[in-house]
């Protein structure tokens, strides 16, 4: 999708002042860059350990899970919907993969990689199933995405609890955690590599494939999309399935990291991922949203939490700060979208 320019292109041919530049950045990237700079400066002043390579890698690795889920959420939002069940998907994929690996490890104690692969596939399969149900409910039965995914969240959580009896599934192969949880390849943690891989795929999919463009069209105006020969229902369903798959990957990575399949994983993911998307300028009305900005948004949330933890800001205040930041980000985004789309 080509990027959009505002109506009164600043006639900056002759003199591109600093203000113009700021405006340009703001219109293209939103407030995120500014908030990031402010946050980084503030936290560096508050804690000398904030701006260390060590901590930054730490921060990125922590953010991987939210970034991934936010990417999935972004697909649902662009399509004009919501996915409140991402947290449940994380939990279900974690639980299913862990149970599968546990069972298989007994039968094939030597073929660790086979066990891991099959376990991951089972987890992803379960995630996909939830995504398909979500998508079918929204696209075929016309249930509002809010309710559909809220219902699925409840259903999935019940099932995950049932499967594990409430107790985390442990005794997973150590290799899983060693590689996908804490492994390092070429100096970069494996979870970050996985995230980069998925980011690259998603970037191509969204910007260089017909499917991506169709997704934007469906979210922007489903009727127009239909009249333009786009098969709206398959696009919608695949958006939810893809969202679920990405959330599932996040669930698998979390399983690897915590070395357990846990029905309580991902409890706050749904709202946090929506917050990350919205801070990143994704419209809740569909059709608008850029991958780069969402990644920034998710990392921003992680960064603020990390910074506040390092600066040893009390937990109560942290909760308040996050709420305030969310609102501020959206107020500015309103201003920006008014300029760009007159919405």
């Amino acid at each position: 999708m080509s990027s959009i320019v505002p109506e009164n292109n600043p006639s900056s041919a002759h003199k591109s002042s600093a203000r113009d530049w700021i405006m340009k950045i703001f219109l293209h990237w939103g407030v995120m860059p500014f908030l990031l700079v402010i946050a980084v400066v503030t936290f560096s002043l508050m804690s000398s350990r904030f701006l260390t390579t060590d901590n930054l890698i730490n921060l990125f690795r922590q953010s991987v899970y939210l970034v991934l889920v936010s990417l999935g959420q972004m697909l649902a939002l662009i399509s004009g919907g919501f996915d409140l069940s991402v947290g449940t998907i994380v939990a279900v994929s974690s639980v299913v993969s862990a149970l599968t690996m546990g069972a298989l490890a007994l039968s094939f104690p030597d073929a660790i990689w086979l066990v891991i692969t099959l376990g991951c596939l089972a987890g992803l399969g379960a995630a996909m199933l939830i995504g398909m149900v979500n998508g079918a409910g929204v696209a075929v039965f016309g249930v509002s995405p809010f309710i559909m995914t809220l219902g699925m969240q409840s259903i999935g959580f019940g099932i995950a609890l049932f499967l594990t009896a409430g107790v985390p599934v442990s005794n997973l192969p150590d290799t899983l955690g060693d590689v996908f949880g804490f492994g390092v390849l070429l100096g970069v943690p494996v979870p970050i590599l996985m995230m980069l891989l998925i980011l690259a795929l998603m970037f191509v999919l969204l910007n260089y494939s017909a499917w991506g463009r169709h997704l934007y069209a469906v979210g922007s105006n489903p009727k127009a999309a239909l009249l333009s020969g786009i098969r709206v229902k398959p696009v919608l369903i695949s958006a939810y399935v893809l969202c679920a798959l990405i959330a599932g990957v996040s669930g698998l990575l979390l399983t690897a990291r915590t070395a357990s399949g846990d029905a309580n994983l991902g409890g706050s993911m749904a709202l946090e991922s929506i917050a990350a998307c919205v801070i990143g300028g994704v419209s809740l009305r569909g059709g608008i949203g850029r991958l780069e900005n969402v990644v920034l948004g998710a990392i921003f949330i992680g960064l603020v939490q990390n910074g506040m933890n390092l600066a040893q800001i009390g937990s109560y205040l942290q909760i308040v700060v996050l709420g305030v930041l969310l609102i501020i980000a959206v107020v500015f985004d309103r201003i920006r979208q008014k300029r760009l789309y007159r919405l």
């Binding site: 999708m1 080509s2 990027s3 959009i4 320019v5 505002p6 109506e7 009164n8 292109n9 191509v204 910007n207 260089y208 494939s209 017909a210 463009r213 169709h214 934007y216 069209a217 922007s220 105006n221 009727k223 127009a224 999309a225 239909l226 009249l227 333009s228 020969g229 786009i230 098969r231 419209s283 059709g287 608008i288 008014k338 300029r339 760009l340 789309y341 007159r342 919405l343």
Partner: protein, 497 residues
């Protein structure tokens, strides 16, 4: 009679990036119909929305009966007797007709401040009756057709005593009969000394109704002229700043193979059509009253309305179950009547809107399955040139474009693929004369290159001037098929009722 009701001096209004009004003067006499004429985006709607209190005033002075006023809200303007029918509907779709007719001016019990439900209900019925509008006041507005909604809208503007009535393109979705009803109402109000501001893109209406015309261009006041003595050409020249020789081009008829053939079409709200054809190299008009099913018939053929039975043949081949995708792939393009509702992705760029239905096609779609953004840019730039959209508009959100330009974007979308049959449903709704002419020339070009064109329109002159053959529909059936040689206003109208 020459009582100055409303006078405006030097009114200016800026939106971020646009100067919508630039020192506009305006004067309205009691008992006068004063038309405002101008291109899309000239500032007509902005002007009247300020007068009606819907937008805050920029600089400038508004006087009513000589007294300087500043309206803070629509309710405020209403208290001064100014009432408007806006271009965008001001109806709440989930409320009933009756509730809408009283909206914002509910009647309350003196003592408890509660609603007087029965009095309001009586008032609403009386209002509809007085205007001769046949609408059940209990119906939910969302279930009304666009024309019926327009009638409710008009009734709503007339619900209280008023001294200034503003009508912003009130006939855009009405056909002859409803329009006539409206004109009668306007004349009777005029008789009572009400001043009427009337915005329209249809010059015939100006001729029939208006006393004076104020012409706007790019937010500037160009002049006030007498409606009776000013020629059409002069008006258009003032509006466009150049002369437009001929609005309607003459299109060479060169009918060839049958492209579309519909038979035994049943479905929807009583569609019952036995035979309908369109051939390459001709323009087929489809006329009829509002709600006669002229859109629905072809929407069924295009696969967007459910079809009970019927055979859709394209190029001799039967299309089993038409869907928009299949029809497009078979070379049919449908231009919807409501560009915001069904046509545009408002938040996406102009270029993205143009290329929308070509993303699965060469050259944009590589064989590898990926898109070539540079090919896309080339394609959209060329099309932009063909339909005359300024290159600087290509990366802008279509929400920012004027109505006429938005319509051109939709036309552009039809040029990205090889199309055998164009179905244009109300292609010029709310489009100014200049752009409209451009659209007509585009239709000419397409037709003369050998495409079949179906023109569905409520604008009778458009049908009369452009089509080589016309179907007139009445209550879901084809009432007549008229050849160019017999295509006159009288001939068509006679089959309407």
């Amino acid at each position: 009679m020459s009582d100055v009701l409303l006078s405006i001096e030097g009114l200016s209004k800026k939106f971020p990036g646009v100067r919508a009004l630039d020192g506009v003067d305006f004067e309205l006499l009691a008992g006068e119909v004063h038309a405002i004429f101008g291109e899309n985006g000239a500032g007509k709607s902005t002007l009247i929305s300020i007068i009606a209190g819907a937008q805050p005033q920029g600089s400038g002075i508004i006087r009513m009966h000589g007294e300087e006023l500043r309206f803070s809200s629509v309710a405020d303007a209403r208290r001064h007797g100014i009432s408007a029918v806006f271009q965008e509907f001001s109806l709440a779709p989930h409320l009933t007709v009756e509730e809408n007719l009283c909206l914002g001016e509910e009647r309350l019990h003196q003592r408890f401040g509660l609603l007087q439900l029965s009095a309001m209900s009586r008032h609403a019925s009386a209002l509809l009756q007085r205007l001769n509008f046949d609408i059940d006041p209990q119906r939910v507005v969302a279930t009304l057709s666009r024309a019926e909604q327009q009638m409710v809208e008009i009734a709503k503007a007339l619900r209280a005593k008023l001294s200034v009535l503003i009508l912003d393109e009130p006939t855009a979705s009405l056909t002859e009969r409803e329009s006539e009803q409206l004109f009668a109402t306007v004349r009777s109000l005029k008789q009572q000394g009400v001043g009427i501001i009337y915005i329209t893109h249809r010059i015939q209406e100006i001729k029939r109704l208006a006393d004076r015309v104020t012409v706007l261009r790019d937010g500037k006041h160009i002049g006030v002229v007498d409606a009776a003595t000013t020629t059409e050409a002069k008006l258009i020249e003032m509006m466009a700043g150049r002369t437009v020789e001929k609005i309607y081009p003459s299109i060479a008829a060169n009918p060839g193979r049958t492209i579309l053939e519909l038979s035994q079409m049943r479905g929807g709200v009583g569609i019952d059509v036995d035979h309908f054809v369109a051939r390459e190299g001709e323009v087929v008009g489809v006329a009829g009253l509002v709600g006669c099913g002229k859109s629905e018939l072809l929407r069924m053929a295009f696969g967007i309305e459910p079809m009970k039975s019927g055979v859709v043949k394209l190029d001799g081949q039967t299309i089993k179950k038409p869907t928009p995708r299949r029809m497009l792939d078979a070379g049919v393009f449908y231009l919807p009547p409501d560009r915001r509702e069904e046509g545009l992705m408002l938040s996406a760029s102009t270029a993205d809107n143009i290329s929308l239905n070509a993303l699965t096609q060469q050259p944009i779609h590589f064989r590898s399955g990926f898109l070539s953004l540079s090919a896309e840019r080339t394609v959209t730039r060329d099309i932009g040139r063909r339909v005359d959209i300024h290159p600087s508009n290509m990366p802008r959100a279509t929400a920012l474009l004027s109505g006429g330009n938005q319509q051109k974007v939709l036309f552009g979308r039809g040029l990205t693929r090889s199309i055998k049959l164009y179905i244009f449903d109300e292609p010029t709704v709310g489009v100014d004369v200049g752009t409209r002419s451009a659209i007509y020339y585009l239709i000419k070009e397409l037709c003369e290159k050998g495409a079949a064109v179906i023109l569905i329109s409520s604008d009778l002159p458009e049908i009369l001037h452009l089509s080589h053959r016309a179907y007139v529909m009445r209550s879901g059936r084809i009432a007549a098929e008229i050849d160019r040689s017999c295509l006159t206003e009288a001939a068509v109208l006679q089959h309407f009722f």
